[in-house]
């Protein structure tokens, strides 16, 4: 476990219904979702969520619809209040905030990007992008300057005076991202931000996000129901099912060692060669001295790249380097073995 997480969620429960407090003891006592609904008429939204999100990382929360992922992200900026538990941001309990403090927190510390963009339809693109600044009470000049800067950064210069309905979905979401970035908040929440977009545009937007992240190093919480998207973006992956965390950890590890049949089902469908990286399947350094190396590869290359590099020859082995240093050895046989989904690991989550 690493130190000082930016955001940490501890023992979070959310129960929906007329009187959630009254059934909380039953839930803490281990009552499951169907029983709670049948006996008490309450819906268990989230149960015992413990997640830590590190500064500068993209934490992806993945789950199917109804798994509680949108509910979970709304607890971070308290659009929804939990029934029990803690949400700590920079060590401060967000739940203890007064209304004023909470408003300032939302204005300055967390920004949000929405699935349906949620732009103000009666304001221009520039006004939308500068919204966070204006809400904070800064003058028009500052709002326009920041808005313009970030619109340019997301590739929308020239559209400042258009209205949102004149733009395509992908462009509208770029405005949404510019709006969130313009607030200059260290934490960015993205609620299924790319789910409403066409597959090609979605890929573009993912690339844009990764590119921005390499220079901005924001703490990003990203919600998605798409495993490919999750694996592409995640530094830390949290998989939710029916309101509880099934598994969380480094995405490559989850892929190689799923600890639940539910996750196995999930990962069995994806193109492992494209998602898995060399570093995940290589042997650590020094163990491969006897090898005859066919070449040098980067630790972050995908297996797909290796396959085409080797021409499908499984007898080859490669020296793996990371920023110029030897870090390990990749045997093509290991690579091929990793392409077949493994049986669920007995050891649980990594982190």
């Amino acid at each position: 476990m690493r130190t000082d997480p930016k955001v940490s969620i501890k023992g979070l429960y959310k129960i929906f219904g007329p009187d959630p407090e009254s059934v909380l003891p039953a839930v803490l006592g281990g009552m499951n979702k169907p029983d709670l609904l049948e006996r008490h008429g309450h819906v268990l939204g989230l149960q015992d969520i413990n997640v830590e999100m590190q500064t500068g990382e993209i934490t992806v929360i993945m789950g199917l619809s109804g798994s509680g992922k949108s509910t979970l992200i709304r607890h971070l900026n308290r659009l929804i209040d939990p029934t029990a538990g803690e949400v700590l941001v920079d060590g401060e309990d967000v739940l203890g905030y007064s209304e004023d403090r909470l408003r300032r927190f939302r204005q300055e510390t967390m920004s949000m990007v929405f699935q349906k963009f949620a732009l103000l339809p009666h304001r221009t693109v520039l006004q939308n992008a500068g919204m966070a600044r204006r809400v904070r009470g800064e003058d028009d000049a500052a709002a326009s300057r920041e808005g313009r800067k970030w619109l340019t950064r997301v590739g929308l210069s020239g559209y400042e005076d258009a209205y949102p309905h004149q733009l395509s979905g992908g462009m509208q979401q770029r405005v949404g991202i510019a709006r969130a970035l313009a607030s200059d908040s260290p934490i960015m929440l993205m609620d299924e931000a790319f789910s409403a977009l066409d597959p090609l545009i979605r890929t573009d937007m993912q690339d844009l996000l990764l590119e921005l992240q390499t220079e901005l190093h924001k703490t990003i919480v990203f919600i998605t129901h798409d495993l490919d998207e999750a694996l592409k973006l995640a530094d830390h992956l949290v998989i939710l099912k029916d309101g509880y965390v099934v598994q969380q950890g480094e995405p490559q590890q989850i892929l190689l060692h799923p600890n639940d049949p539910y996750i196995e089902d999930f990962v069995s469908d994806i193109n492992r060669a494209r998602v898995l990286r060399v570093r995940s399947v290589m042997q650590p350094v020094a163990s491969g001295n006897g090898h005859d190396f066919a070449g040098i590869v980067e630790a972050n290359d995908t297996l797909e790249k290796l396959i085409s590099l080797s021409g499908g020859d499984t007898t080859k082995a490669y020296r793996v380097q990371k920023s110029g240093e030897d870090v390990g050895v990749l045997d093509m046989k290991d690579l091929v073995r990793a392409l077949v989904p493994a049986a669920p690991a007995q050891t649980g989550a990594v982190r």
Binding site: E108, A118, H122, Y163, H165
Partner: protein, 347 residues
């Protein structure tokens, strides 16, 4: 011998019933019976199929101690008259500005000469709609009304509608916002609004005539506003409740205050609905201003009333057509203005 005599007899209430009998006045039926010389004993029994409903009047026949329906309506009247004076003490000062506004507006519209007022109205129309077609239609309508000497009547009607709509909007939009923000407020308001909308228009006038003098202009002002304010309240409430939840959530997520949310998001996004409400309010005040001519509201309604009273068919029809013309031009103008707003609010 009345039908329900037996009932009171068996209940043992006969003494109570007859206690005050001597003092009561004789009914027409009793007088007839007396003059024909017949006694109650000769009356044939009522067949079962013709059993009368045990209403107040029927029961009164059998038992004079029970009040008649006439006494009930008198009671309502007395109760109203009893609260009338205290009510007047409160309502009179509150509503007095309405009289001033209506009279002032009428005086203003009369004072401005036609060759200034008509171009001014046309400019206003063009400013609101940005359409030459609608402006030309308004111009032709006014010139026609002026040509057939209905100009001053039409302007009077317009003046009343102008004042009443302004007040309806000034009161209705805040009320609608309150309704949208609180479910309790909505639950309380909806039955009242339903009642205002379904109450026959003439019924408004009855208590108002008792409360205020017919010579005061606020009498018809209040009647028109009560009737016409409903749509603007309803549609403001609806408009604000219909604002996209996602946009509201975004506003919350970026830490907007309630005030910023109301003026920066909710009202602008509800504006198309609010404008539709204002359009309806104008139409309804036009409908009411005609009926209000019964209580001395000036304008085209007076001519319609003259047509009915004196059976002057031509006068009634022409002024009726004038009202239709006014209605159409007000509707087209506000609809065109609404369309202009809608176009820039697409989501």
């Amino acid at each position: 011998m009345a039908f329900y005599d037996g009932l009171f007899d068996t209940l043992g209430l006969r003494d109570w019933c007859d206690a005050g009998q001597e003092t009561g006045p004789m009914s027409m039926a009793q007088l007839l019976a007396q003059s024909s010389g017949a006694t109650g004993a000769a009356e044939p029994a009522t067949p079962l199929l013709q059993t009368p409903f045990p209403s107040l009047d029927t029961l009164h026949e059998a038992c004079p101690a029970i009040a008649q329906t006439r006494d009930m309506t008198t009671g309502v009247e007395n109760a109203f008259l009893a609260i009338k004076n205290p009510l007047k003490v409160i309502l009179d000062p509150i509503t007095q500005p309405l009289s001033w506004l209506l009279d002032g507006s009428l005086a203003f519209f009369h004072a401005v000469p036609w060759f200034i007022l008509i171009p001014a109205l046309l400019m206003l129309t063009y400013y609101a709609t940005r359409r030459w077609g609608v402006t030309a239609f308004v111009a032709v309508s006014f010139l026609f009304l002026a040509f057939i000497d209905h100009y001053s009547y039409a302007v009077e009607t317009l003046s009343i509608i102008f004042v009443c709509t302004m007040i309806s909007v000034a009161l209705g939009v805040p009320l609608g916002i309150l309704m949208a923000r609180s479910d309790t407020m909505q639950k309380i308001s909806i039955p009242i609004l339903d009642m205002l909308q379904t109450l026959p228009t003439f019924v408004y006038l009855i208590p108002l005539i008792f409360l205020f003098s017919v010579t005061e202009s606020k009498l018809y002002g209040i009647a028109i506003i009560l009737y016409a304010i409903v749509p603007v309240i309803r549609l403001t409430d609806l408009g604000i409740r219909l604002v996209d939840r996602d946009v509201i959530e975004a506003a919350d997520a970026f830490g907007m205050t309630d005030r910023q949310k109301l003026f920066g998001v909710q009202i602008p996004l509800a504006l198309p609905n609010i404008m539709a409400g204002i359009n309806q309010t104008i139409m309804m005040s036009l409908a009411m201003v005609v009926i209000a001519s019964l209580v001395s509201a000036p304008g085209l309604g007076v001519l319609v009333l003259r047509g009915i009273r004196n059976l002057e068919l031509g006068v009634g029809l022409v002024s009726g057509f004038g009202i239709v013309l006014l209605a159409v031009l007000l509707d087209r103008t506000t609809k065109a203005a609404l369309g202009r707003i809608n176009a820039s609010y697409k989501t």
